[in-house]
């Protein structure tokens, strides 16, 4: 009983409960048909949200106003870079991944420079840089029709006992990110900056170095995500990352991370990603129209955040 209560006190549990309910509703509708397949598909798609969601989480935790809006353009460019460098050859897979990572890191570092050197608010800086990156992507990837190397495409689809290998990698990555957040100096520094940037500076934290690292990390994760998406969907495209603008922020918030900064939650990002993907699956199996689907998605997200946000405030 007490175990249940301590579990319920965790802010991330709600996103998993939400995912479970949505999944049950969907298989109830299909009469149990395709229950396992639904989870496999959800895991494959959720892992992409988890990767960018964790990057976004570190950025948002830096405090009010910090957000990375350049992720969609970044993902699009990195997917094109990866496909072009790999050139469909199995021998070039590693090089292509490194190139996508470098492209993402370059975008992240550029974001930080805009914020720091030109003193532009992050929301504007990352939005404007996303237009620039998008233009570069359009010019660079024009008419790009390169298929991923067969080994890379196969890798993104490998399953172990019905669990996609990417999802296993995603869980390991999330675990490491949780350690970095709670048990490493980097994570502590991010949490401190998000609560009180001036106090963090006066407590000897290298504030600007941490912010630079965080934006670069978010960019790097966007880059990796771009390469993986291109492998999974059999090719790069300019709009491959479009849905990650809102979903990267949504999974952070639903997962129990504070939008005001200083408080973050890694497990919640997995729960929230599964919830969002399964929600779409459920609405699709119900066969509702696109308009109704968007409306219901919005309402349900609001509902979950309200339910999970019943935290007591101190004083």
């Amino acid at each position: 009983m007490t175990a249940v209560r301590t579990l319920l006190a965790r802010p991330w549990i709600w996103s998993f409960i939400g995912a479970l309910i949505v999944w049950l509703a969907a298989i109830l509708f299909t009469g149990g048909y395709g229950a396992g397949g639904m989870i496999t598909a959800a895991l494959s798609l959720a892992v992409f949200m988890v990767i960018v969601g964790i990057g976004q989480m570190f950025v948002i935790t830096l405090g009010p106003g910090n957000v990375d809006l350049s992720l969609p353009a970044n993902i699009g460019l990195a997917s094109a870079v990866a496909m072009k460098v790999m050139g469909g050859s199995n021998a070039m897979i590693a090089v292509g991944l490194v190139a996508a990572l470098a492209s993402g890191m370059a975008v992240g570092a550029a974001n930080y420079l805009l914020i720091r050197v030109l003193r532009i608010p992050p929301i504007i800086a990352t939005l404007s840089s996303s237009f620039i990156v998008l233009s570069i992507d359009i010019a660079y990837g024009r008419g790009l029709q390169i298929k991923p190397p067969p080994a890379f495409a196969d890798f993104t689809n490998i399953q172990v006992f019905g669990i996609p290998i990417l999802a296993i990698g995603g869980v390991v990555f999330a675990f490491l990110a949780g350690i970095a957040l709670q048990r490493m100096i980097y994570g502590r520094s991010v949490l401190a900056i998000g609560q009180n940037m001036r106090a963090a500076w006066l407590a000897g934290i290298p504030v600007e170095r941490i912010r630079f690292f965080t934006y670069t990390l978010s960019g790097a994760l966007g880059g990796i995500n771009g390469a993986l998406l291109a492998g999974y969907f059999r090719g790069a495209s300019v709009d491959i990352g479009n849905e990650y603008l809102l979903s990267s922020i949504a999974v952070v918030v639903i997962g129990g991370t504070s939008v005001a900064g200083g408080k973050a939650n890694v497990p919640g990002i997995w729960g929230a990603s599964l919830f969002l993907v399964l929600l779409l699956t459920m609405l699709n199996t119900f066969g509702v129209s696109a308009g109704v689907r968007l409306l219901l998605t919005g309402l349900i997200i609001v509902g979950v955040i309200t339910a999970a946000g019943g935290q007591k405030t101190l004083r």
Binding site: M184, R198, A203, L314
Partner: protein, 496 residues
């Protein structure tokens, strides 16, 4: 009460519990109209909690509140305001993004329609001029840009402004802790004038001299109870300290006759405004005082030294790691979402590692060690930092700096809201740490604290205007150099 003066506020058997902590344990209190009541007690004695209940921002678990003979059942901030009870809290409550005039409007709903900003500005300007002549604050200043002392002045002045609601009682919770001696004197004189005009006042302060000279009656609290109530004339400093409990008598600081230049120079810093000559020098093991009126460049120099500790800066050289004890703890010190232990450990993260990861045990051990050393009053170090009283939060900031690897400790008027008992303990701690080779730079506006320094630099308008060894230190000299005008300063600068 017996002499027939009407009673403004009467509290009967008020209790308040925070979990296992009994913040208030059956408190009775009565305030008559036209009197000033002083409220004293150690950090965590329950003074601020009691005042929150009186101001309507806190709730009593048990007990009765009667205002002007009428028992209040649904008491709230709005109700208190309507009944003419105002409060100036220790944690400043102005909105930092608004101007002084706009902040004034917040408590005066009747300032509306065209030109409210102008009327609001006139209202607050008149009150500031009345209380703090020569305050240098413009009603169009944004509050966030003001120094902490100026914010405190605005807060106090706002509490005394009157439009359509009456004003009967003003609660002042440590109003002078962020003010220098000069403005504190102005405020206390004003409180006396207001009291003579029939406005009552409750004054909370750790400066016992202020309490004795300003108040008619004194109430002493200890561990959530009122332990003594008497006229101010019946108390003196020693009796107050004894009633508050648990502090030994203060020994005169034994000034160790030390020649400077004996040890290595740890800090050498020249204020930005200083053209040449005078600079601040601190040797290893010294306690250096930064004096002068509040906001005359002392904090700025301390921050420049913080900057110089990570990147080279012209005019400032630093010889060891630096840690700062913030005075403005809301803005410069506290991480409000974290526990007490996390707040202590943040300056020492590198030392708390075991392998690659931070060790919870080491963090807890560090916090426990310092909890004992400067007695932070809490049942559990894993509690949130905001569960502590203001003075205890300040102790956490001391623990953060002293528990770190820093060889140079900067203190930015750090004793705000700290009671006498703790102050004396911290003075001893500083002496001890200095003997072990740490260097202290201590900005303070209290003469008592300067007595603890080996060497004092007096600041005015961003410059060092006097350089006093412990043996030549007197209150007159400090005040004189703080106010000295034009000619003297020019002469001094040419001479140096």
């Amino acid at each position: 009460m017996s002499e027939g003066k009407s009673v403004i506020v009467r509290l009967d058997g008020v209790e308040r519990h925070f979990g296992a902590v009994r913040a208030l344990d059956g408190v009775d209190l009565a305030v008559e109209s036209g009197s000033c009541v002083g409220l004293v007690g150690h950090n965590g004695a329950g003074k601020s909690t009691l005042m929150h209940i009186l101001a309507g921002s806190g709730r009593a678990d048990r007990g009765r509140i009667a205002i002007r003979g009428h028992e209040e059942t649904a008491y709230s901030v709005a109700r208190a305001q309507k009944l003419g009870i105002r409060c100036v809290f220790q944690e400043l409550s102005l909105c930092p993004n608004l101007t002084v005039a706009e902040n004034t409007r917040i408590t005066h709903a009747s300032l509306k329609g065209f030109g409210w900003r102008k009327r609001s500005a006139a209202l607050i300007r008149a009150k500031l001029d009345e209380i703090f002549p020569g305050h240098g604050i413009d009603p169009s200043d944004v509050v966030g840009d003001l120094a902490i002392g100026q914010r405190q002045m605005v807060e106090v002045a706002r509490a005394f402004t009157v439009t359509d609601e009456p004003l009967h009682l003003v609660i002042l919770d440590e109003p002078t802790s962020s003010l220098d001696a000069h403005t504190a004197g102005q405020l206390l004189a004003f409180v006396r004038r207001a009291v003579d005009q029939g406005i009552s006042s409750i004054l909370i302060s750790h400066m016992l001299g202020e309490i004795l000279s300003t108040c008619d009656r004194v109430v002493v609290m200890r561990d959530g109870k009122v332990v003594a109530t008497d006229t101010a004339a019946a108390f003196d400093r020693d009796r107050l300290v004894a009633t508050m409990g648990g502090t030994r008598h203060r020994d005169k600081v034994a000034a160790v006759a030390r020649t400077r230049e004996e040890t290595a120079v740890m800090v050498r810093a020249r204020p930005r405004g200083q053209v040449a000559g005078a600079e601040l020098v601190a040797h290893r093991g010294e306690v250096i005082g930064l004096a002068g009126l509040a906001g005359h460049g002392q904090t700025r120099l301390l921050l420049d030294i913080v900057r110089a500790s990570t990147a080279a800066r012209p005019g400032v050289t630093v010889g060891a790691p630096v840690a700062l004890v913030a005075g403005d703890r809301q803005t410069d010190g506290i991480f409000p979402l974290w526990s007490i232990a996390e707040n202590i450990g943040i300056r020492s993260l590198a030392g708390l590692k075991r392998g690659l990861l931070l060790s919870r045990e080491r963090e807890a051990a560090l916090a426990r060690a310092w909890q004992e050393k400067i007695s932070i009053r809490t049942p559990d170090l894993d509690n949130n930092i905001l569960s502590l009283s203001g003075g205890n939060q300040q102790k956490v900031l001391f623990a953060r700096a002293l528990g770190s690897d820093a060889g140079i400790i900067l203190m930015d008027d750090p004793m705000r809201g700290v009671d006498i008992g703790t102050k004396l303990e911290v003075y001893d701690l500083i002496r001890d740490e200095a003997r072990k080779g740490r260097t202290f730079l201590w900005y303070t506006t209290e003469m008592d604290e300067l007595e603890n320094c080996d060497h004092v630099y007096v600041f005015r308008n961003g410059r060092i205007v006097a350089d006093l060894a412990h043996s030549e230190l007197t209150e007159e000299k400090v005040i004189q150099s703080s106010f000295e005008e034009g000619a003297g300063a020019a002469l001094r600068e040419r001479a140096s």
